[in-house]
Amino acid sequence: MANKTQIDHDDWPPCRLACPILTDAREYIQLIAERRFEEAFAAIRKQNPLPGICGRICTHPCEVSCKRGQVDEPIAIATLKRFAADGSRKDEYEAQPNESTGHNVAVIGSGPAGLSAAHDLALLGHHVTIFEVLPVLGGMLRVGVPAYRLPKDVLNEEIKAILDLGIEVKTGVRISDKIKIADLFDQGYKAVFLAIGAHKDRKLGIPGEDEFEGVVSAVSFLRDVSEKRNPKVGKKVAVVGGGNTAVDSARSVLRMGAETVHIVYRRSKDEMPAAQEEIEEAIQEGVQIAYLTSPLEILGEDGKVSGLKCIKNELGEPDASGRRSPEPVPGSEFTLDVDTVIAAIGQAPESSLLADELDLAEGAQRIAVKDPDSLATGLPGVFAGGDAVTGPATAVKAIAAGKRAAISIDHYLRGEALPKAEPLKEAEGKKLATEIVEKTRRLPRSRVQTLSVDSRLAGFDEVASGFTEDQAVQEAQRCLHCNLGAYLDLERCITCGACVEVCPLDIPSMGEDGKVYVDVFKCQACGTCAAECPVQAVSMRFYPPGHTVREVEKALKQSEISNPFVVGLFSQYGNFTGSHLDTLSKDFPQVVPVMVFGLERVSVSDLLRIFELGADGVLMAEAPPENRRFPETWPLVEKRSTAAKEILDLLGFAGDRLILYTMPEEGLFEGSWLAETIGEIKSLGPNPLRKEALAA
């Protein structure tokens, strides 16, 4: 009579399903909440080779689908990733590559797609050479994203960590120029991954574009900025376009001394594709956005740009992309007084030289892929992915392509069939019931610091800081633990109704058929029902059965056992910081702290087992009332503590060894209370089982 096992995807949270690389955000958020920062980093890094980058620039579709967003604000999943990736946590991480396979693979392009493919292929044991046309690595990460969003040293560190796997690099080489793809195979490469991105700006297609000085392609402008070539910009700049490239250009140009910057975008604010945060930052910095405006003609004087003639639009019927088409309003023409026009209306891959070897799509620009699952092109052994195939998209989608290509190439090199993508359950987008939202405590999202506008515009320093440790822990604790909640095994259930009675969110219900129903979607995994169920028919994926005691065992193995030794079960939801914990360990080495996510998940059995393990005393430290996630479970916690104390008394252990208390508004305990309490426990003598317990 085994417990029910769940199918793999069934317990994937919405954040994971929304991520192009299926990041298990829930896992690393939990580790951060437990202050297990090195483990959080390892969990991220083993699956994503560019975490510090993603943590800063990802469009975070995970946050859009985060269920917490239905209560107050979504978890700051990206900033938490940045937190884990910053700092010295990564020093402990070591990748474990497989044995060498002897195969050589050529990766063309060192942007996120190329870097990810190279990383994963190297881990699989293949020997990789990256060919990069520029003298520097990183693709758009380096030459497209400005340093104030993604500092170069962060980029350099992450690239180095990837290359340290033994990946070779050849810069200044354009494949398909002197070296064709066929040549690569002649040179001994067994497979090729084309990840050349989209670095060629589309032309505006308006009169004056090629006539006057001062018309710049956004991509080449940003590249010059990143290479510190100090491109000349005027004082009055118009950036045409509405994507991140346009906003990046506008914000960069401000930092280069422009006095007025206009973004000219043909649709309205709601349709603007750039990231919301970027747009807001740009406006804060003084960028003006002209919505529903299309450029008509670039005007010039003495061979230089003197103005941009524009027309206002109205939104008409939706076009092929599903967005409403802009229709010019007759008679609404006007001229912007500018001396520079930056074109940022979309990019395409520089693929013309590949046309004789490969099929190209989309007006003979993008590389055609025959099989979107395996990313195989028409040429055997040649794969392609990222912006070169899809057109400009996001970094994380490029990483997804790189990772997929690595798997495909690995299969190809081993002579196995190319993989098909597994169909995944769609993130459901279900709404949380109003009662659940109402009963969930509101918790403000942690906010990072940003530089003042003056400081920002003085240079290209990173605008946003990351989270501090305490901020990160607090933010991570807002997570609702989607799908980690109560799974009821109907075979075990004796329909006693205990879970129905104790759930603070009123989730289990007794059906007319006498069976108990639990809607896991609503559950936040507080663990109250699991601790109350008399036959352990409810299992939590979050803190599975016996977890608390196992954590105590682990903590005991890692600590010096002093006399007396007291196990402190501290509710994570208390209002304390890392430095409070440091003080505790320094001043009270007798206390072995074990963090628990709410005392309501601790059962009477757990408490007794901790004494069976040899503790002289046990503290149950509840969060102060304003911090408790589920204050109505307090009477249960009290009842269990009372029952455990009575049983300890009967056993001759002295129930006074078990102490239930509420932490103060700030910190882990009040004043001299802990010292006195430890003294009282000491006076009760050692745990009668101690000798045997510790010998075991």
Partner: protein, 380 residues
């Protein structure tokens, strides 16, 4: 111990595949694929094929209630009970353990009674009556003080029956020893394969009784009674003291007029024979005579009574599940069908299990402990 030896010792190869055990087994009625005969065949086959390890990792063995119904009816006299007990012992050694209800809290409490601690569990006795530090009579209380804490929320005061026993003994002029030093009798440990802990606990108990100089040890709990009477001697040789069931002692005293069940209470009752008291200890009539002696009580028997009584659904707190609940409700409906309004139990665990099953249903029956009813009848 190897499986082949065990098979021979317990005569399981005498099984004729007649199926009487399966037809009798209450678990086999609710748990698909479970039957005593299946268990036996599995082990015989595994011994032949050298697959003992696989057989020993079987989880279904923990669902057996060890109620002895099959043992009683088997035409080949297969010693099924001992077979299960010994198989569990071997399985336990390989790491196959039962899943205990209540998150294993009772197992933990019992485990904590090993070692040199001195319990503090007799306050109830000093309140209820007169006890002694040493003497001829010893009242064995076992786990009742712990059950009292754990099942209070269900409305069960497990110590009531102990208080009543003490008062009745006092009325008979007996001031028994009630000791803080006694441990759990070890019944659950013995039956869940943990024979080492069982022996530790038993050794403590024998020593505690010896130190009190007692010669007559009185039991209210059928499990304690059978464990001491039938199993302690198997491991420790003949005991130095007599093992007495409270109903035998008090029944005799009532016959001799030393105690009167005078106060009338009108109830229509049915009596549930506990497996350990009935089939294992052979005590069927003593409780019935006590019921008959209580004025106002009308006893109506369930169809399956005495040696045919069906277990209350859980043994050793192991593998309690929806199957256990079905067995319980089945038995409760059988009780209801007699027209009785009360089920009389004579075992603290039967009382707990029936009360639990009734708490979530809509059968309006009361569960009453026989000793407590007697105490009402004696107005003590």
């Amino acid at each position: 111990m190897n499986i082949q030896d065990l098979i021979e010792r317990t005569k399981v190869s005498f099984c004729q595949d007649c199926g009487v055990c399966t037809g009798s087994c209450p678990v086999s009625r609710v748990l698909p694929g479970f039957s005593p005969q299946q268990m036996v065949s599995k082990f015989i086959l595994s011994a032949d094929l050298g697959l003992e390890d696989e057989a020993l990792s079987d989880r279904d063995m923990w669902s057996c209630l060890t109620c002895a119904l099959c043992l009683q009816r088997c035409p080949s006299k297969v010693e099924y009970l001992e077979f299960v007990r010994a198989v569990r012992e071997e399985a336990f050694r390989t790491g196959n353990k039962a899943t205990f209800a209540h998150d294993g809290v009772i197992e933990t409490i019992v485990n904590m009674q090993r070692g040199g601690l001195h319990q503090n569990k007799t306050a109830w006795a000093r309140e209820a009556g007169q006890i002694a530090e040493s003497g001829e009579y010893y009242l064995f209380v076992g786990c009742l003080p712990y059950f009292d804490v754990l099942f209070r929320d269900m409305g069960i005061s497990s110590l009531d029956s102990a208080s009543h026993m003490l008062k009745m003994l006092n009325k008979l002029g007996i001031e028994p020893v009630v000791s803080d030093e006694e441990r759990c009798c070890g019944h659950d440990m013995l039956w869940s394969g943990n024979v080492d802990v069982f022996k530790e606990l038993a050794a403590f108990n024998i020593e505690a009784i010896k130190r009190c100089g007692s010669k007559k040890v009185i039991f209210g709990c059928p499990e304690g009674y059978v464990t001491f009477k039938a199993y302690y001697p198997l491991y420790f040789g003949e005991l130095d003291f007599e093992v007495v069931h409270f109903y035998d002692l008090v029944g005799q005293q009532i016959k001799e007029g030393a105690l009167q069940l005078g106060h009338a209470e009108k109830r229509t009752v049915t009596y549930h024979d506990p497996c350990r008291l009935g089939r294992m200890a052979g005590i069927y009539e003593a409780p019935r005579e006590l019921i008959a002696g209580m004025p106002g009580m009308k006893l109506v028997e369930m169809e399956r009574n005495r040696e045919n009584a069906v277990c209350c659904g859980v043994s050793c707190w192991a593998n309690c599940s929806s199957y256990s609940k079905q067995i319980q409700m089945d038995r409760i409906k059988e009780a209801e069908a007699t027209g009785a309004d009360t089920i009389i139990t004579a075992c603290p665990k039967c009382k707990i299990h029936f009360t639990c099953a009734l708490s979530s249903g809509d059968v309006g029956m009361e569960v009453k402990d026989l000793t407590c009813l007697m105490a009402s009848a004696m107005e003590i």
